[in-house]
Subunit: 326 residues, 2 copies
């Protein structure tokens, strides 16, 4: 791959070049990783999309929301990329967003770009690749990058590390219990959207929204939140209501954070985080080769059988990797 | 240090040699780590102590319990070592068990050996060193190794990774709430001991014990638990009551696990865990040197300022470490 040429094509908005570049950053091959780093380094760093993380358990209507919300944004002339971090793809190879037919309007929209979650052997791998895909989409001139994930906790944490704003999508639910949403995810959310606020569920949605608004007031007050944030709002992806109010709210929060320095500071911290993660992952990747795996398995078995001490086996493993202990 | 000579001295019960060897495994210096691994590899692997993890928040009487329990064991002719994993020592340099005067009887007892938590920069370091100190005490012929920690969650997990049994020490408390004990710690406990079951607190202790017995029944049933375990019991370290019943209970559980294969299987898994942790820690230790720290700081600042992409900076860091990306 010609790096300079590919970079130019991405900048000029060539979707096929973007798709190929994302495939490159998703590859685990050593030469691909080097090329990917070179490409990311060659891209201009002056284009900035609004990066929005979006989480919600299955069944809350994430796909329908993304479709309606994305269509509204493209209708305003904005270019929208949709990416995903799917921890289940790390295990099963299956992935959310894999089926673009769930968002068939948005998938056909020229101003939109949808990419399913990469399959990787572990969440850390999925996350790093997605962070790099976000950077590629940003360089390609997208105005909004939506990063979807599914509400299980760990994947939200990594999405929050690459997003400017974090949305939590919830379904209307009776009772005052908070739908088993993990406290950690609640604490991450900048805006909670109660979806399906339509038809028979409207009244329930109103109650749910009030419950969460109350919980949010108790839960968090961070310096990077202006008055009134985090906020709970109602939307109906089906009836297309509340979506523009939600978008205005996101812009209000992003604008406030930009003015008060939190936007850039968060991005700086995130970039440092990914740099450090990437270095650590590369050092540990020395254990991924076939020979290293075989040595780890053999020494691990000796240790398990009590034939040698873990520390001595570790020294032997490091020697086989060509390291002396640092 | 002459490894063969030191190993011989440890095996023959030389306490000064043991103390020096623990100091060696606690060192972070590269040559010390190599020597430590050599020493651990040179020790016989046929001696087996019962390794008991012990957790409890400050104020429940851990020191008094260890003193009374340890004196009871040495009174039965058993040799007892007491070690500690203290996450606060990773931050402050202070340590639990630092003050042997809190256990002045046991500290003077020839059959007992007390060692405070090592100071390290992070919990992982404290944990690995303590695991190695346990192995040294075992080779030195101790019958029981008590590993003390303080109830904050993460340190319990690492202690459970080096213990055959896990005890949770609690104070009697009114009400039916579970004293804010983290669910994860409850799930780790094989035996919960309600301490201070004496004097005015006796009735409260009885109620607390019943509460926890009920909670344990709901919480866990693992294949490695015989009928009736996990168990809640009352002890008074002050009045020396319940301690021998508690010891019998521990022996009963350990015996059952030995007969049913769980004891050895758990030890095998633990040994493999520490081997893998040790390899990973050594690979990441390449970032600990002065030059590496300076490079990380410089590249991290460039990344934070948006001058370069995290992935490209990571490649540059790996190159400076003499690595090409794997």
């Amino acid at each position: 791959m010609d790096i300079t040429d590919t970079a130019q094509r991405i900048i000029s908005g060539d979707r096929r070049a973007l798709a190929r570049a994302i495939t490159l950053v998703e590859s685990g091959r050593a030469d691909h990783r080097m090329q990917a780093a070179e490409l990311l380094g060659a891209l201009p760093r002056d284009r900035q999309a609004l990066r929005i993380g979006l989480s919600g358990t299955p069944g809350v209507g994430k796909s329908t929301f993304i479709e309606s919300f994305g269509m509204m944004l493209t209708g305003q002339g904005l270019r929208v990329a949709v990416l995903a971090v799917d921890p289940s793809s790390a295990r099963s190879g299956g992935s959310i967003l894999g089926d673009k037919t769930r968002m068939d309007q948005l998938a056909r929209e020229p101003k939109a770009f949808i990419r399913p979650s990469p399959s990787q052997t572990h969440l850390g791998g999925v996350a790093r690749r997605t962070r790099e895909a976000v950077a590629l989409c940003e360089a390609a001139g997208f105005d909004v990058v939506l990063i979807e994930t599914v509400g299980v906790g760990q994947s939200e944490t990594v999405v929050a590390q690459m997003a400017d704003l974090f949305l939590l999508l919830l379904a209307p639910a009776g009772g005052d219990e908070l739908q088993g949403v993990k406290r950690g995810i609640m604490e991450m959310a900048d805006v909670i959207l109660i979806n399906k606020a339509d038809g028979d569920l409207k009244a329930t949605a109103t109650r749910t929204c009030a419950d969460y608004a109350g919980a949010l007031r108790l839960l968090r007050k961070r310096p990077q939140d202006p008055a009134g944030f985090p906020k709970a709002m109602m939307v109906s992806a089906l009836e297309d209501t509340g979506l523009s109010a939600a978008w205005e709210t996101m812009q209000e929060l992003a604008g406030w954070r930009r003015e008060n320095g939190f936007f850039d500071r968060t991005r700086a911290e995130q970039a440092q985080y990914w740099f450090e993660q990437d270095v650590r992952a590369a050092l540990l990747a020395q254990l991924d080769g076939a020979q290293a795996r075989a040595d780890m398995a053999r020494l691990g078995a000796e240790v398990a059988q009590g034939q040698t001490d873990p520390a001595l086996a570790a020294q032997q493993m490091l020697a086989s990797l060509g390291h002396t202990r640092q």
